[in-house]
Amino acid sequence: MTRSSSILWILAVLIPIIGIIHLFSGVSDIDWNTFVKSLVNFDQTETAEVIIREIRLPRVITAIVAGASLSLAGLLMQTLFQNPLAGPYVLGINSGASLFVAITTLTGVTFFTTQYGLAINALLGAFVFGVLILFFSRFARNHITLLLTGVMIGSFTSAFIAILQQMSHMQDLKRFTLWGLGSLQKVQLNETPLLIATVLLGTILSLLMTRSLNILVLGAEEAEQHGIRVRRLKYQMIGITALLTGIVTAFCGPIAFVGLAVPNIVRILLKTQEHKKLIIGSILGGALFLLVSDLFIIKIEKLVLIPINAITSIVGAPIVVFILFRKLK
């Protein structure tokens, strides 16, 4: 077995192990029998079973799916812009989702009014801002210019969100502020299939682009020379990124640095540019990263309560600085 496939297998095995440890961690002790019973023969009057089904299981699934989605989105952005520091968060794609969620939550104006209205608005926002950064990327002559453009889009959007917050009602404001902290705990069990379907769709569509992504690493001109329709490819990549980022952001709020840090760690570990491996590695790595981060939160929640976004930033920001010093000399 090659080095890279052993690493992928290790990641794949660690996810269910950490997942199970996560399920059995928390304030109340739950034994194996109660766990199995809650799944096969659920009794609504048993508190322990309710905790499993309504709190722990959705939280574990959300951590896995959100981590995988954001990490895959980050990988796509890095390949699209040939920039190791690209990611949905730094490039302002999260901001797009946030802005549209803010408009919906704070003003009540919505572009869609279904059960998943919020999710669809976030997705739309992510896509609009994705196309925006794709447009700006034409004028950005180097890596740093593009990243600063993304950061500026973020600041610009934050200002609008702040104005919306000033004008909104107390109740809406509280709801939006809580969402803005980022959390893996607000997803209901019956909402998890949508999240799972999103990450599966994103993964399949990304894997179908493997050939194009492998050559795009050498630049748009090289890709075109080898028969790839680069313009179409870029929009497809933005579309998938928006789908992944939009859905996760709608349900969990903005979560920083997963998309930026994980694909870089995966690339360093696997030492490859082969996207079949990078896609699978990013999905597994992202899932594991968020799962471990969330497990850490549970383990210390008796001492102090930390939002998920704080953990991912504490781990992610130094990684970004490390990459900055290493690559952009």
Partner: protein, 234 residues
């Protein structure tokens, strides 16, 4: 055969004119011209990224601009003067990217792909560095790897934009000899641009020049003297 008739090349303003020019398989053509004379633009026109202002340009009898992107990718390959590369990629993987037009969506390589890669690496004499990282080899080795990539790309026509520009003299000679061998032995039509007059005169290739004053691109005999050639081009 690449066939060009009464064509004007350039963006909005004409850069150069071509009366009649046939580029045939089995030959290495070297295009000499001053910087800014339109060498790169001419290559871009042949690659289909820039449209000729007027005239007809055809490859194997088909008008260049009517060839679909995927089909063109199987006809013409290109090596730039500074090939782009990245980290975490071996020389072999880099050469393997030349197979892109022949792979399925998941980029799975078949036996025939591996064979083409091995042959290209052997033809360019870079077996020793095949497992090295592409970002760790010298400029000369990387240029050879880029030629190997174009060979693995397996097109009848190979275009190279100033392939010797950033190489030292011994690597320049080596690359020119390699290109001649490839053209003859693999029956390819190879067109390289250069402004290295002395180097080009020493090698056994067909000469194309862009004459400054008339902005005219045409073929000259390779028995032409150095002084006369310099007079024409510069």
């Amino acid at each position: 055969m690449i066939r060009i008739e009464h064509s004007t090349i350039g963006y909005s303003t004409p850069l150069l004119r071509i009366g009649q020019l046939n580029l045939e398989k089995g030959n290495l053509y070297v295009l000499l011209g001053k910087n800014g004379a339109g060498k790169s633009t001419f290559l871009k026109t042949l690659r289909g990224t820039v449209r000729a202002i007027d005239g007809t340009l055809s490859i194997d009898g088909k008008n260049i601009n009517s060839i679909a992107l995927q089909d063109r990718a199987k006809l013409v390959s290109f090596v730039s003067s500074r090939p782009s590369y990245t980290e975490y990629m071996t020389v072999e993987e880099f050469v393997g990217l030349g197979r892109t037009p022949y792979l399925n969506l998941f980029a799975q390589q078949k036996e025939s792909d591996q064979k083409a890669i091995d042959e290209s690496i052997a033809a360019c004499g870079i077996e020793k560095i095949r497992s090295k990282a592409i970002d760790s080899v010298s400029d000369g080795e990387r240029q050879l790897a880029a030629v190997a990539k174009a060979l693995a790309h397996d097109t009848p026509y190979i275009l190279l934009d100033e392939p010797t520009a950033y190489l030292d003299y011994s690597n320049k000679r080596k690359l020119m000899e390699l290109l001649i061998t490839l053209a003859q032995e693999k029956n390819k039509c190879i067109l390289a641009t250069s402004h290295d007059v002395e180097l080009v005169l020493k090698s056994n290739c067909s000469l194309l020049v862009i004459e400054e004053k008339e902005q005219l691109l045409h073929q000259v005999s390779n028995t032409i003297g150095l002084d006369e050639l310099i007079e024409k081009v510069f």
